[in-house]
Symmetry: C2
Subunit: 218 residues, 2 copies
């Protein structure tokens, strides 16, 4: 959808633009209310009020509180995954694979270890018993997607003779948890103030990459 095209059909697109804006306002309001009150205590009236739309508009966009929450989880986790995996530039010509993996790991750490993602993850984990679908959405869109993307990357690096990997899925999962495990556990349990500073994250990423490459480097 280019600017030229939308300029030509502005009358058709403007109502669509308005409803997209409303949809966005509902999602933002809902995220705020869910994170503040928890899943169970949140109701659609409050979300409508905060988004400044009618309750009918909320229901027209999201038939239930659950679909709304699944949409939030998917959009937050997918946005984070995209930032790490889709938008991560390829290995530069002549760049060291260790340096590349350190950059990759650091990018993943700083994207996932944010108060918003961490709060959402805590909320979802606390509700696994009652609402397993929410956690399934987070599992698929978050770590599941991240590890699948990493497996593709590692296979490509192996094809280029830069890694020696027999099972890319296993290697990707190991890389992921070498990098994410320690700080994720810390922040999940000790709260957002425990998010490590950039220098500590870089040291942590470097140590994880060193272990990974001792096994899978050339």
């Amino acid at each position: 959808m280019t600017t030229t095209r939308s300029a030509g059909v502005s009358e058709e697109l403007e109502p669509h633009g308005r409803s997209a804006k409303k949809r966005r306002a509902i999602l933002d309001a809902a995220t705020e209310v869910f994170l503040q009150k928890g899943y169970l205590a949140t109701n659609m009236d409050e979300i409508a009020a905060l988004a400044a739309v009618s309750k009918q508009t909320v229901y027209k966009n999201f038939p239930s509180k659950e679909t709304l929450f699944v949409e939030i989880v998917s959009s937050v986790t997918n946005r984070a995954s995209d930032r790490v995996h889709t938008e991560m530039p390829d290995l530069a010509e002549g760049e060291d694979v260790a340096e590349y993996l350190r950059r990759y790991a650091y990018r993943q750490l700083t994207t996932v270890l944010t108060p918003r993602v961490m709060q959402l993850r805590r909320l979802v984990i606390g509700e696994v018993g009652r609402f397993p679908e929410l956690a399934k959405a987070l599992f698929d869109g978050g770590p599941g997607r991240a590890i699948a993307a990493m497996a593709v990357l590692f296979e490509r690096l192996a094809d280029h003779g830069l890694l020696a990997i027999d099972d890319p899925a296993v290697a990707a999962s190991q890389f992921n948890w070498l990098i994410m495990g320690e700080p994720l556990n810390r922040v999940m349990l000790l709260g957002d103030d425990a998010i490590p500073k950039p220098a500590a994250l870089r040291r942590h990423a470097a140590a994880g990459v060193r272990v990974f490459l001792a096994s899978y480097g050339k």
Copy 2:
């Protein structure tokens, strides 16, 4: 406290034995109610009723719902840690270090990945915002204690020339998350039915140990 000794002081010990029994009944009842209803919805009356003691007895043992819950978290996580770390037999004479680490990893996996520990961890994570002390107790008694014990073990193995480790704390954390990260995340998000079968856990442990030893083996 041997049988002989307690037989000799039975009059003194019996009341103590009764109150220890009551304390245990309160803890068991509380664990059940907390896991079923969540932290916030649990009240002391229900715990007293289920434990078949008076509410005063509950309060005499645990001045608040919070101290009661911290006690549960500490006792469950400490019992799990002890099983893995304190009770794990030393490397047998002539035993391969790889085989030993696979046993260690498997023991840790099967001890931590139980419905009770997982449900408690989910409950605690869901309440980090409101009750940070609960999560702190789980962090210290669970992964914190596990990784500290592992660091001591790795240092001993290094002293015996079986591992080459410069920073035992870093190596222990890496080992822990290579082993625990993937299945813990899976079970936390997908529920207790996602606890892997023994054969899958053994394969997973072996793959993690292989990567660890590529970096730290001799």
